[in-house]
């Protein structure tokens, strides 16, 4: 049975009976949405698996064109941003608005750094003629063999740009969400009693992070396995 204060809480939407129901609904809703995101990428991962199996040597070589040090650093950046996001949720739960704002900002900055590095990577790919299309041009290099089936390598880059591009797009949406969250925190909308949007956006951010944790080895580390 909810408290008198909670029934009249300004945060309680009219369709819900109490804050507990509202919180549960928000969480279930966000988790259901995250399932759709996973299924969205699942189709891509499925197609990726097929072509990697068909064109393994070319994909191995193509993967070497990517800077895995930069990719690893970016992974570290994004994982750290998930850490600061978790701190933000924790700060909100304890009613610490300053820490909340600080951590949202840190998450945003780290996320921007991630995307900035990605843009730089895209730029280098473009410079090297590795963007799929009429200008695609394979060239060997140190540790990068010459390959014959250039189309197969191009297909790798189709997946590279599509998968990381859609991921980056989700990060852009995340930035919008984080900025909105920051503004709301600045306007003191959150308290220990009500911080659901922080939690939900936190969940979203963690999904974007987890997706990258899969994308990184699948795209950058094809050549680094026990077999080869």
């Amino acid at each position: 049975m909810s408290s008198h204060a909670a029934i009249h809480s300004p945060h309680l939407r009219h369709q819900f009976d109490d804050l507990q129901q509202q919180r549960e609904s928000a969480a279930l809703g966000m988790w259901s949405f995250l399932v759709t995101e996973v299924m969205f990428f699942a189709g891509l991962f499925g197609a990726y698996t097929l072509y990697r199996y068909w064109y393994y040597p070319e994909w191995d070589a193509a993967s070497r064109q990517l800077d895995h040090y930069l990719g690893a650093f970016n992974t570290f950046v994004l994982l750290t941003s998930s850490l600061t996001m978790a701190f933000a949720v924790d700060a909100a739960a304890s009613g610490n608005n300053r820490a909340l704002k600080r951590n949202i900002l840190l998450t945003l900055i780290l996320g921007l750094a991630f995307v900035g590095i990605k843009i730089y990577e895209y730029y280098t790919k473009w410079e090297h003629g590795l963007v799929p299309g009429s200008h695609f041009h394979w060239h060997a290099g140190p540790g990068i063999p010459d390959i014959e089936n250039v189309r197969a390598a191009e297909l790798f880059f189709v997946f590279y740009f599509t998968m990381t591009g859609i991921h980056a797009f989700h990060m852009l949406i995340g930035f919008g969400l984080l900025i909105t969250l920051y503004i709301q925190a600045h306007l003191n909308k959150f308290s220990a009693e009500y911080y659901t949007p922080v939690e939900m956006i936190g969940l979203y951010w963690h999904l974007v992070d987890i997706l990258w944790v899969f994308l990184f080895p699948l795209l950058y580390l094809i050549d680094r396995n026990f077999v080869s």
């Binding site: 393994y56 040597p57 010459d146 390959i147 014959e148 089936n149 250039v150 189309r151 197969a152």
Partner: protein
């Protein structure tokens, strides 16, 4: 094509037709039975128990046993359908050894048929009665589907991948050929005639009007496009000797084995860097755009016809030989 009058049942002209029709008949019987059963019960109950009628509406308690029965019964029926269908399908997918092979190339919006003797036809397929036929098919552009209703056979025809279809014509006559996968504007015009003839008649027919046997066309193209400069018969060129290679398994550059079949030969001509044999470099140019699927089929026919020649001791592929 003779004017056909209205029919309720398609012609039965292949060895599969009766098998398929029997299974279809079983399915019809089951469908009619249950459709009538449900319709009669539903309408019957609605009339018998309509409001105001003084009838016994006393119910027992819900029996899970009834639920089990009307789930198990249909389950048995559909398993019969599945097994029967699977067994027949297995037959349809397993051609016998003695097939007469004919090549089909589909393109928007026509069928090009190539008999082994060299006789070609467009939108028509002449066949001998009582002889198992295997069609090897490929598309020049989009996905098509080769469908002969009277034979109860259909197979999608794909770009860049061979598919096959086999059947045995059992009745002399002419039958429809349809494209059964939507392929653009003139999809409904990509139709033709299948003519089944007595074997002697077919034997005569297939030797007529032959401009060039595929084997000869293949040899001509092989020389015309200078394939022999790299593919020397003594294995001294940039590419492997091709005589006798067909059907053998060979190691690939970068690992793995490939069976040198029709698909591999076709890919090597039109997409040579897809799979390269171990010990060779990527030097072969692609002939995509210069050679059609039909041309490639001719070259493949030629290469299959070459007998295995002895290979000199010092050639690269000696250690790779894996018959």
């Amino acid at each position: 094509m003779s004017e056909k009058s209205f029919q309720l049942w398609p012609d039965m002209a292949s060895s599969f037709a009766l098998d398929v029709d029997l299974l279809y008949g079983f399915l019809i019987v089951v469908t009619i039975f249950f459709s009538i059963l449900i319709s009669v019960m539903v309408i019957g109950f609605s009339l018998y128990y309509r409001r105001g009628r003084k009838v016994n509406r006393k119910l027992g308690h819900h029996s899970n046993f009834t639920e089990v029965i009307w789930a198990a019964g249909p389950f048995v029926l559909v398993m019969i359908m599945f097994v029967w269908g699977a067994m027949l399908f297995y037959k349809m997918q397993t051609p016998p050894e003695n097939t007469l092979d004919i090549e089909v190339v589909g393109k928007q919006w026509m069928w090009k048929i190539q008999h082994a003797t060299g006789r070609q036809e467009i939108n028509a397929l002449h066949l001998p009665l009582g002889q198992p036929i295997r069609l090897r098919m490929i598309s020049e552009d989009v996905i098509h589907s080769f469908y002969i209703p009277a034979f109860r056979v259909k197979q999608d025809v794909l770009p860049a991948f061979f598919t096959q279809l086999w059947f045995e014509p059992t009745r002399i006559g002419t039958y429809h050929l349809f494209c059964a996968e939507y392929c653009g504007n003139e999809h409904s015009k990509m139709i033709g005639t299948v003519t089944v003839m007595a074997p002697e008649e077919y034997a005569r027919w297939v030797e007529e009007g032959v401009q060039e046997k595929p084997v000869d066309a293949g040899e001509r193209l092989f020389t015309q496009f200078q394939c022999n400069t790299c593919h020397q018969s003594d294995n001294s060129g940039n590419g492997p000797a091709l005589a006798g290679l067909f059907g053998k398994k060979r190691p690939l550059k970068g690992g793995g084995l490939v069976e040198a079949n029709d698909q591999y030969f076709r890919d090597s001509i039109l997409n040579p860097h897809k799979q390269i044999l171990a010990g060779y470099d990527a030097m072969m140019p692609t002939f995509q755009g210069q050679l059609t699927e039909s041309d490639s089929l001719a070259i493949i026919a030629y290469l299959k016809s070459l007998p295995q020649l002895p290979i000199p001791e010092n050639s690269v592929s000696m250690q790779d030989l894996n018959p």
